[in-house]
Amino acid sequence: MGRRLLLEHDNVAGIETFDVYRKNGGYRSVEKALKSMSPELVLEEVQKSGLRGRGGAGFPTGMKWSFLAKPEGVPRYLLCNADESEPGTFKDRYLMEKIPHLLIEGMIVSSFALGANQSYIYIRGEYMWILDILEKAIAEAYDKGFLGKNILGSGFDHDLSVAPGGGAYICGEETALIESLEGKRGNPRMKPPFPAVKGLYGCPTVVNNVESIAAVVPIINDGGEEYAKIGLGKSTGTKLISACGNLVRPGVYEIEMGITVEEFIYGDDYCRGIANGKKLKACVPGGSSVPILPHYLVTKTAAGEDRLMTYESLADGGFASGSMLGSGGFIVFDEDQCIVRNTWNFARFYAHESCGQCSPCREGTGWMEKVLHRLEHGQGNLRDIDLLAEINKKIEGNTICPLGDAAAWPVAAAIRHFRDEFEWHVNEREESQKRNYGLIREPQSIA
């Protein structure tokens, strides 16, 4: 088992309380930053760490922070994205439920670096019980002088509160999140202006994922360089992976970036292989929005190298034979699963969650869902498969926010790798309603 920087104490009894958290080294980074560092120095450490956003896009956190506009006399905001709604993703929930103070600690230090005197955690409405846990922890932090006015005598004031959503995947998109936090419908905004210039209430704003903010704590405690020693290349540090689907041991794991996918799926410290002695059929390694990989591209790249749990290796091969680390929602399919059915299921998700502002996304996701439903239920024809590709092209790049692309790409990937299985649903209509296709054959040449 590798080093655990975030979840080291997840099983310590009472770790959700301030006292136990503090006894286990909690809030040291706040003391260090506020008493002995300048905001610029904190930013520098985060830059040195190489930390990349854990919400899905992997954008370097230090760089994002450095873009924050700092006009005189205008408040700045830090918003924590705890909307966590990407199918397959349940890591932020685990962190907040188990160690709420770690997120609060990260919020204080990050806000100090950004010069934000007010920050909010925007949490999906369905996690209402976690909102209770967070509010309890926040009250303790106020009580102990880690939040509020003049924290630890440093002169830095900081207020933190939590706001729930109301059930809408799109509110995980940062500008939709801002709209929602302003008390409106969660319709994404056109960019530019970017939130770094005009975000919450028109003020400069940084939006970061729960895990990104929590990672700032070990980065400040141990230094950015130490953090960057873990991992491989531009994938530094540890990453929370939420593993689900047909696994012996699904759950949330903190991994050192760079372990092999093989070890993650089959290793004793991690998922321990495919459930019920079945074979691996496919894997969606980074949440429903990333391309699906057929079994022969999961543990090896098209070039025959070991595939690693890093941003780069999971993306190796591009759209032709790679995928993405995404949100860390690692979904595993065994040989009995139907790819057409799953593709339809995800398409239904995106059709349901499209906010409806852009017609290519609103109409396109609806059409993809209908066509895939037809195929899955043995009522499709071969032209439908090409029709899906056409709808895809109409959506891609023609929308305000990336949800349109997120809906289109997984369908394209499923057809690319599993075309035989889609065609079988047309050519063997009746058979396809009675049994599953099984494993797909490895093509003679990949890519």
């Binding site: 993703t89 706001a163 729930p164 689907g245």
Partner: protein, 179 residues
């Protein structure tokens, strides 16, 4: 986003009003936002209103929330109709939201949905004859590793089997919260 339409024939007979205690909670929420930005608390207050006034948002409830925020009712309707958690029609005493998304489907959520429907003799979207349970489906609730699952109020019920569903229904019927 699925659009919902409120059936105007269903109304609250009395005007909903927050107790003094609830109103104080609302004031605490307002204070979390800058001067003039209290509308930021609207989703939270709608959740509160739903809980206080019968588990759904009637036109009267939404109009009352508009009063609390000193905004136009349409601004409240706009928000309430966007977010899927808000019930714009009356529901049963307990609402089961069964996750139907991919990872849960891989672990058998379809058969759990069918089982609950058969057991309660209702289809998805309907309420049982005794008014106790409404069956709904939902998209991924962030419990994919503990699938299949359902949410009821604030509670997540995970690792569902038919036997677990039986226990859960029995407990709610007896007025207990199953663990």
């Amino acid at each position: 986003m699925s659009s919902s339409h409120t059936d105007l024939s269903k109304r609250h007979s009395e005007k909903p009003v927050f107790s003094a205690e609830k109103m104080a909670e609302v004031q605490v929420l307002f204070a979390q936002y800058p001067e003039g930005k209290s509308k930021s608390a609207i989703i939270r207050v709608l959740h509160m209103a739903e809980e206080e006034f019968g588990g759904w948002l009637s036109i009267e409830t939404m109009d009352y929330v508009a009063e609390v925020f000193n905004i136009q009712p349409i601004e409240v309707y706009e928000v309430a109709t966007f977010y899927t958690m808000f019930n714009l029609e009356p529901t049963g005493k307990y609402v089961f939201e069964v996750c139907r998304t991919g990872p849960c489907m891989l672990l058998g959520s379809d058969s759990i949905i069918d089982y609950i429907g058969t057991k309660l003799d209702i289809k998805v979207g309907e309420t049982s004859a005794d008014g106790m349970f409404t069956l709904k489906t939902s998209e991924c609730l962030g419990a994919c590793g503990y699938a299949p699952m359902l949410q009821c109020g604030k509670k997540y019920h995970e690792h569902l089997t038919k036997e677990r569903v039986d226990e859960i229904i029995t407990a709610y019927r007896a007025g207990q919260t199953p663990n």
